[in-house]
């Protein structure tokens, strides 16, 4: 397992030589916390963490003032793009269509540029103008304290929905819950068979058929698969006890979830939102609430740092059964 400094260094290996030599010089305490590295054509090189941007100068010093920062040029972006795509754009066409590439280690690189449409929707992104390298941090054990709230007796599980605004650690939490559910905990419960539908290769960080993140020993991964398709495929072929998906939202997702529940499979999902009320009013998934499908809601925010568990709410009474606790440091 890479520590946070080695993790940062391994990620910037994917940047062109010139930027790599600058970014490797930034102070260690910043390396530990960096969440994103941003390359925008003609704009200052920056990193960000904790909701703040820092501009990087030629000596690797950070400042909130962009005046002395290194200006990213087209060459930097194209060379970096070649490196992150392993000189093989053809092998990443599907991912590029979705706006990102997953690199070794399971980190995601978002791509900005001219989007080319064809008969079947987005065909390609050309004239790449920006790259956003998101360092996905695996924080093992962050879900240990909340397992007792989502495990029913010793061999059951409550359908659970994690509600969180972006960048609050929901993917990190979901990944660790999946790992715990899959492995089981000694004396408490045996592991469940989990099917993980990882539409954006962010949870397991699959690279060349290998999960780069620990998602447990009883987990089957459907990588790059649409949630609605993945749920159905898992029901038909993988006989899971639990299906885990990130960021549900579409009507098709809701239909697939119904299908899973009819098959007696439990569900673990996340959704974007800042409160339970906000999520309940989303038209596409409102039905899931009216039918009381979810038995537990875990609500995250950043009030006490990334990954603050604001509360856990019971899905029947809608009353909180757990209050604020911050133990997720670093997130993806």
């Amino acid at each position: 397992m890479l520590n946070n400094i080695n993790l940062y260094d391994s990620v910037i290996e994917n940047l062109c030589d010139e930027l790599n030599k600058i970014l490797i010089k930034i102070p260690h305490n910043h390396k530990l916390k960096t969440e994103e590295i941003r390359l925008r054509n003609g704009r200052p090189l920056s990193i960000s963490y904790g909701g703040k941007d820092y501009f990087v100068n030629i000596n690797g010093n950070l400042s909130s003032n962009p005046s002395n920062a290194v200006i990213v040029n087209e060459r930097h972006i194209m060379d970096t793009f070649q490196l992150i795509s392993n000189y093989s754009v053809y092998a990443y066409t599907e991912e590029i269509r979705n706006g990102y590439i997953t690199i070794r280690g399971g980190h995601r690189v978002g791509i900005g540029g001219k989007v080319i449409y064809g008969l079947n929707g987005v065909e390609n992104i050309r004239n790449i103008s920006s790259l956003n390298i998101r360092i996905g941090r695996e924080v093992l054990g962050v879900s240990n304290n909340i397992l007792s709230y989502i495990i029913k007796n010793t061999n059951g599980f409550y359908n659970t929905l994690i509600i969180s605004p972006p960048q609050c650690g929901k993917t990190t939490l979901l990944r660790d819950i999946v790992r715990n559910l899959s492995n089981g905990t000694e004396g408490n419960f045996k592991g469940f068979k989990v099917s993980l539908v990882d539409e954006r290769s962010e949870l397991a960080g699959m690279y060349n058929g290998m999960a780069q993140k620990d998602v447990g020993m009883r987990t089957d991964i459907l990588d790059g698969c649409l949630k609605s398709d993945g749920i159905i495929m898992a029901i038909r072929a993988l006989s899971p006890d639990i299906i885990a998906v990130d960021e549900i939202g579409g009507k098709k997702d809701a239909e697939a979830i119904h299908e899973a529940l009819r098959a007696g499979i439990k569900l673990m999902a996340t959704v974007h939102g800042s409160s339970l009320e906000e999520v309940r009013n989303k038209s596409s998934i409102r039905e899931l609430f009216t039918e009381n499908i979810f038995e537990r809601f875990i609500i995250l925010d950043r009030s006490d740092g990334v990954g603050t568990i604001k509360e856990i709410v019971d899905g029947y009474s809608y009353k909180p059964i757990f209050f604020r606790k911050s133990d997720l440091n670093g997130s993806s």
Binding site: D17, R75, D79, Q82, L83, S85, Y87, S88, V89, Y90
Partner: protein, 174 residues
């Protein structure tokens, strides 16, 4: 004295014949290497277009599957790509340019065709890559045709010319 002169004349004859033979041989070597290069490019096309194999691995596979006489070039391109963290594949293709001329007897047009592959390799989607492979394969096929014609025309000519030149020098010296 007579023996020494005979040895000298024999050496002159052998040298002229060998020069003629080697020059003639360069035509057949070019043809042979172009045919192997065409096979290697076909292997690379399969890896890229049908296997979607990442380029460094695809280049290694070409080295393993192709005839080493030419396919080692692909391994060297891969090593250059990885070791020097090149921004583009073309720079790595350029790094083997001298070997294409000196070790494989390629002509300028052969080298340019091969380098043109380096300009586009890995930079676009599968369909576009396939079009480029077809284009390069067609060009190489044309060059193979020309190389074969040249070989048929020149190989024997230069071999004979070497022998004749050697004989002519001997006659003059006698």
């Amino acid at each position: 004295m007579g023996v020494l002169k005979s040895i000298l004349l024999l050496l002159i004859f052998l040298t002229c014949s060998i020069i003629g033979y080697l020059y003639g041989k360069s035509f057949s070597l070019r043809l042979e290497n172009l045919i192997i290069l065409e096979q290697c490019i076909k292997i690379l096309e399969t890896e890229v277009v049908y296997g979607l194999t990442p380029l460094p691995e695809a280049l290694s596979n070409v080295h393993k599957k192709g005839k080493v006489k030419v396919s080692y070039i692909f391994s060297e391109i891969k090593n250059d790509l990885i070791q020097n963290k090149r921004g583009g594949v073309y720079d790595s293709f350029l790094s083997v340019e001298d070997k294409l001329y000196n070790n494989l007897n390629f002509k300028k047009e052969d080298v340019e065709t091969f380098l043109s592959l380096g300009r586009v390799l890995g930079t676009s989607d599968r369909t576009d890559q396939q079009k480029n492979f077809i284009l390069v394969s067609n060009q190489i096929a044309t060059q193979i045709f020309e190389a074969r014609e040249e070989k048929n025309k020149n190989e024997k000519l230069y071999r004979n010319l070497g022998v004749i030149t050697g004989t002519a020098i001997i006659i003059l010296l006698i």
